[in-house]
Amino acid sequence: MKIQEADAKSLLAAQGLPVPPWAVARTASDARASAERFFASGADKVVIKAQVLVGGRGKAGGVKLASDAAEAEQVATAILGMDISGITVRKVLVAPAADIVREVYLACVLDRGARRVLFMGAAQGGVEIEALAAEDEEAITYIHAHPHLGLLDYQARLLSFELGLEAHLKEAVAIAKGLYATMIANDADLVEVNPLAIVRERGADGSSVELLQCLDAKVTLDDSALHRHPGLEELRDLDEEDPVDIEARQQGISFIRLEGDIGCMVNGAGLAMATMDLVKRAGGQPANFLDIGGGARADKVAAAMRLILADPSVRAILVNIFGGIARGDEVARGLVEARAQQSRSVPMVVRIVGTNAELAAEIMSASGGIELATSLDDAVERAVAASRREPAST
């Protein structure tokens, strides 16, 4: 699960990492009020950042500075409601603009191949790490944390030196270890601070001091672990989710809406992707990716059918179930039930093989209105043909 920058900053702050103050505003007047508070406590400028879960908000104009409260309101007005990669901006983060001396990159991420948590650091921050890696692989330092001992002190020091943070060694070591602590405490897949910056601040006596701060934060959480962190579920941003996605998640169904007109219901992600590939190869267009998951029961099948039919462009439905954990007869019962409740008549091509497939065929033949296919290729062909037929007039 992706979470917003402001929530990611809260998770970092909870581990004791230095994060400058921020506020989240849903309206331009709230943004102005927050900006006024920051100006009152000595900020020269504030930064206003769109809170969206997609990348590239800076390039899209979703990050801007303001010098006074009135300008903050103007900027927030411009950013709120803005469309960034198809997502409407509904909130902004307001923070005092930092006086940045230098920016570096620091992140830890789940390294699947190595089965370790991988730290990545670069002396050059504020840029996209993928772009930096493509340009100059040497610019990035990689260190694996130990799965039981975590990021060791010497590894944190090594990273700090590679990032050119000698003058801030103690802070840098604490930050690197804090990233790891954030990852473990929340079962994160990724904790990224970009930029981690050396910023200049005025000390109590008016003299200038330099210190490290996490100016941006990105955290993604392991969906499989959310059940043991009940507080984190609240960070899910429902603003950016389609109601259909919300229903799918509640039912334990993986669902992604696509552009086409053939609704697909498949058990297993690999088979679902392969089924979509075959639909395209046969000249059809899948309307969705839908993995009904293991052990599909009748009620789950009915829910999957509702998700598919919620898309008005669906002209045919292709069901491909290979029974293993899923039992064909349960799927068939779910389909017959869903068919009976179906709000509109859409041709349905079904192919069920594996566990209890014969029973499934009996159940579906008895019900009628379902076209049974003999193989995956046959099912795809029939579904593509059905999607091209004129809808039966009712």
Binding site: S224, G270, I325
Partner: protein
Amino acid sequence: MSILVGRDTRLLVQGITGREGAFHAQQMQAYGTNIVAGVTPGKGGQTALDGSVPVFDSCWRAIQETQADTSVIYVPAAGAPDAILEAVGAGIRTIFCITEHIPALDMLRVMPVVEAAGARLIGPNCPGATSPGRAKVGIIPGSIHREGNVGLVSRSGTLTYEVVLALTEAGIGQSTCVGIGGDPVIGSTFIDILELFRDDPETEALVLMGEIGGNAEESAARWKAEHLRDTPMVAFIAGRTAPPGRRMGHAGAIISGGSGSAADKIAALEGAGIRVADAPSEIPRLLMEAGVRPA
């Protein structure tokens, strides 16, 4: 011969009294797998599968009493990492974990213990393995197999069944079919399984079923070119038409940052002399063109 599971396998089923465990234990036994014990903490002394299999409180007791040497885990995600560690601690050296939704960081902590013991973990979130005519461990439907000489390794579950069925219908039998699981952190990689197939005299050709995301297929392709040059191999990659940046069910199935795409994988496989099928149903033909003879 075959790999991982066979006639000699003495299987222990962890979670044998649960819904999935009970159902699949029955299916495995019906296939001919030698299930010698079940473990459900607190249910020691009971029996499963109509009285034919004793249930124990711990893996230690089960091994002591039955000399089980292989374990399959149907324990829910919250208890599955512990179940893996218990099996390892008790001395089991081949463990299949069927359970899905185990947090990735749990698996990171489990794996060093598995490795230090010299044990082999398949999965989690995997369908298991079947050596046709000998034994099946996991959840792959037994009826789709046929005995033969093609080894199959796959990241998917049901897609594996699809291909196995296509092979069987074309008269091409299998030595062993292994699903390694679709999770980000898994116990055995494609290469681990290919190494076992390399040392199995009965396996004459290979099928590799991959999907978008990660770079396991690319690594496997390089390994094949180096170590299995003369063994015919056919591959399939699911997710050619998947939109980038979206997670397709499997945690593994996501294309990001221009890596892990189907095109990259297909290029790597073809570069290693592996033919890549456009559809699962094409795999038997490509195998036959590579010299595999149907029964």
